[in-house]
Symmetry: C2
DNA sequence: ATTAATATCCAAAGCGCTTTGGATAGCGTG
DNA sequence: CACGCTATCCAAAGCGCTTTGGATATTAAT
């Protein structure tokens, strides 16, 4: 019942070589024969066995991505969009996406296995850390990959990233220009690349303005659901709370905390958040935010980079740095001076 | 440099057969030899080529899921969680998830290709429709699959679904018990299974109460971002608006529309929505909703079903029907009588 | 007409694994 | 000592495709 290359070629009275070539568009086959072959393949519903082809060619036409257990979606309401963007763009190149799940404590070993088993042609590395051993592993094995976020590495590699340092700086400069001096920062753990970069930009802007960053006002929020919420509650409970606040992550938890404390735009505390507020979240006011294109376009960019890497383009040219900008809203203004 | 079964067995002075058996835990190899083999494999970093193994065994250890282009995330803020749940649970069985993207207009052809190319061992079919040709195709080809949502089919198959009919009925009954007579329903297109079922339950409850469902009050909202919003606006703009409203989908758009019209809980219109409001959405009141376990637990249930299907369990026993219940909030109450 | 080039096709050798169908050796039984 | 059993191992045959290295027929060049 099932038709493979052998039965197909026999039914045509041709060799497997010729049929294979005809179907794969080689030139060493006459046009007439090719038509016959194509027609027969269509009629019999022939579909090459991909395992056999993969074994013969060494390609899998599959790109891999590793999701760590359980942390995959947290704090990342839009990660689904990124995946969606990746798959769509990959599909244009007849590539699939393989999702591999890893226990967070065995992440590196998982990468090693995935590489050695040859299940995928390339990998997309997400959630890069400042010093990321996965990058080193992949480079050492000479394995094609694209990083979603830069890390420290002398050897060039393909990456997509946001200019988080500029983002942190822009937000701080805006608040400084409004007259704020006590500016707080709620940031994700600094082992995360983006958090470190935003933090650096924020601190740099303060220093450039001659302000010594107050450690009390720079708080780390765990990358879980309540992290942002609790960090903001803590800041608001201070004896001398900040007059302005930059939230580099988990804006939703922060907004909720502010709301629970009766905060409203213009009521004293200026707020800038990183990333746009997802459409799904109804707010009666517009939040001033550090904007960067995220979601599906990010996924598409990643997919494009993967395709370029596989095409053998020079790695030191495969960089995409998206520069954020401030999208003004109603949540920031000059500090309110009491007395 | 790269070590395969041949080099490994040669370095051990054993046949490929024996090495293969030792590694795969067969009994026909002495314990001493097995130890030697395992040790050498570990030391040399041997990792079987998965393509070769797949070709030889006919298994791929991969489960497939098809994402239609662009519609994938719309109206489904939680779909990422489902995928996350699937991959995690599959990983426990050493299975991966392959995401394949399809143009919506060529969905069936995409399934056919995916089946015939043998890329995956089984498929998870999502967004089932009332009469879904994909189910028929898979059954015809005798291909293992699990449906996320039931459809019409005489032949048994594995599925996971919510009891949407009960959900629609429960919501309507609650509103009826509160004294409402003009109850509106905003529903997704009825070709979607869940929409049809919720609709049926809703209508049945009304009829049972002796109320003729008013076609004016039953409006279809397209499954896009603004569908729910516009449907609710339309209802609120009626000369004689409903006193109660059930939203079967896209609660967020509906809430936004209500908010834009100055609606507040207790202000005259009762509201029940389907599904819980995502944690990320800050609301100052609790919405009465038809609850059902969604997100990661759904993904895990789907993965479990896949594993059972592959294990050959009888399909007519592989059903999971989750019954929803009403989670009371502050958004419904008796109708307000004027005059 | 002869030779060289070209077009067209094919047999067979992999790709790296699993698995079938023996082969060999050790061992207790009668 | 012959026999049957079990334990242990191996050679070789696939799995279904691509690709190498010819072979043969056809056409162009001399």
């Amino acid at each position: 019942m099932k038709v493979n290359l052998k039965t197909l070629s026999e039914s045509l009275g041709l060799s497997q070589t010729t049929v294979s070539r005809a179907l794969n568009g080689y030139s060493e086959v006459s046009e007439r024969t090719r038509q016959r072959v194509m027609e027969a393949a269509e009629r019999l519903g022939y579909q090459p066995n991909s395992q056999a082809r993969q074994l013969a060619t060494g390609r899998t036409d599959t790109i891999g991505i590793v999701f760590p257990f359980s942390v995959s979606t947290i704090g990342d309401i839009r990660f689904g969009e990124v995946v969606s963007g990746i798959t769509e763009r990959l599909a244009e190149h007849n590539l699939d996406l393989l999702i591999h799940s890893a226990r967070p404590d065995a992440e590196l070993e998982t990468y090693r296995r995935l590489i050695d088993s040859r299940r995928v042609d390339a990998l997309i590395v997400t959630r890069t850390r400042v010093d990321d051993p996965r990058i080193g592993l992949l480079q050492e094995r000479n394995y094609p990959f694209v990083a979603y976020g830069r890390t420290q590495s002398r050897i060039p590699y393909a990456w997509f990233d946001f200019d988080n340092e500029t983002g942190g700086r822009l937000a701080a400069e805006r608040l400084l220009a409004l007259g704020h001096r006590r500016i707080a920062l709620v940031h994700a753990p600094l082992e995360m690349n983006f958090a470190m970069q935003r933090h650096a930009g924020f601190v740099a802007a303060l220093c450039a303005a001659g302000i010594e960053p107050d450690p009390e006002l720079i708080v780390e929020a765990p990358a879980d659901r309540t992290g942002g919420y609790q960090a903001v509650r803590k800041l608001l409970a201070m004896q001398q709370p900040p007059t302005a606040l930059l939230v580099d992550n988990n804006a939703i938890g922060a907004l909720r905390a502010l709301g629970d404390c009766g905060w409203k735009p213009g009521s004293g505390l200026s707020l800038i958040v990183y990333d746009s507020i997802p459409f799904e979240i109804p707010l009666t006011y517009k939040v001033t935010s550090v904007m960067q294109p995220t979601g599906e376009s990010t996924g598409q960019a990643l997919a494009d980079l993967v395709v370029d890497v596989l095409a053998g383009k020079p790695l030191d040219q495969l960089h995409q740095l998206k520069v954020p900008y401030i999208d003004p809203g109603e949540t920031d203004g000059p500090p309110i001076v009491f007395g």
